[in-house]
Amino acid sequence: MIREKRHSISGAFVFLLLGVFAVFSMMLVLLGAQAYRVTVEQTAMHTQQRVFHAYVRNAVRADDGDGEMTIQTIDGIPVLTLAEELDGERYMKAIYCCDGELRELFTAEEYGFNPEEGERICAAQSLDFALGDGLLTATITDADGRPYAIEIARRCDE
């Protein structure tokens, strides 16, 4: 009788051990999935931030030498235009935000500005520009609503 009771306790212990192991395994999977999700989200967010900074900075640095940088509002869209002359023809590079995307349009000035024709850079809700004290400030709001300020000294002022 006693022996049978000991057997049943051993069996229960084995199943209890298995149950505990199953619970901890499930917790590990959930924790791992959570850690992975957070890591991927943060990586995507920082990649987005790097793209914004690198793109706007390099675009402005590459073309602000001629003193042809202007901020306009065309059809209600804030646009940064960087003009230059190539082979006697005037071209402009427009940087703006349209349909939830940061875009760039490089075109001859005579063709005008059509926001739908711009090259898509990355997702962004809005893009605003401000000029003052030799400093261009671009404020980009990403797809999740996080704002990023990019401040660029205007070399074309010199």
Partner: protein, 133 residues
């Protein structure tokens, strides 16, 4: 007797399996923690770089760099301007060199995390002055 042996074997087998999976879980947890740490570190570096670039450009554009840094919340100690952030510290060292034909203004913007220097951005601007012919 035979049933007792069978049960003991099963128990040992399950214990070995649990031990193996526990070891695997430890390795996995270490990997997840390392991945998370690297992600946080990369994020801090990105934020520090973005802010350091902004500061460097603001210094370039400003007439009075010291007033700008003071306004931006930097505090000066031993000639170095420091701004504490949650995950890193920004430091700016200013230097001016006057020559006969102008002024060379230099600034070095650094981001530190504890003892580690995350990045250093040099920034310089030459301000020419009028020279008598």
């Amino acid at each position: 007797m035979e049933r007792n042996n069978h049960l003991s074997t099963l128990l040992v087998e399950i214990l070995i399996a649990v031990l193996f999976f526990a070891l695997s879980a430890t390795v996995l947890m270490e990997m997840f923690v390392a991945a998370r740490s690297q992600s946080v570190y990369a994020g801090v570096c990105d934020e520090a770089l973005a802010e350091a670039q902004n500061i460097a450009d603001r210094i370039f554009a400003a007439g009075d760099a010291q007033a700008l840094l003071s306004q931006a919340g930097f505090s000066q100690e031993d000639g170095v301007w420091t701004l504490g952030r949650q995950d890193y510290d920004l430091t700016v060292a200013l230097d001016e060199k006057k020559t006969e034909v102008g002024m060379m203004r230099r600034a070095e913007v650094s981001a530190r995390r504890g003892e580690e220097t995350l990045l250093t951005l040099p920034c310089s601007r030459y301000l020419p002055e009028e020279v008598a012919p």
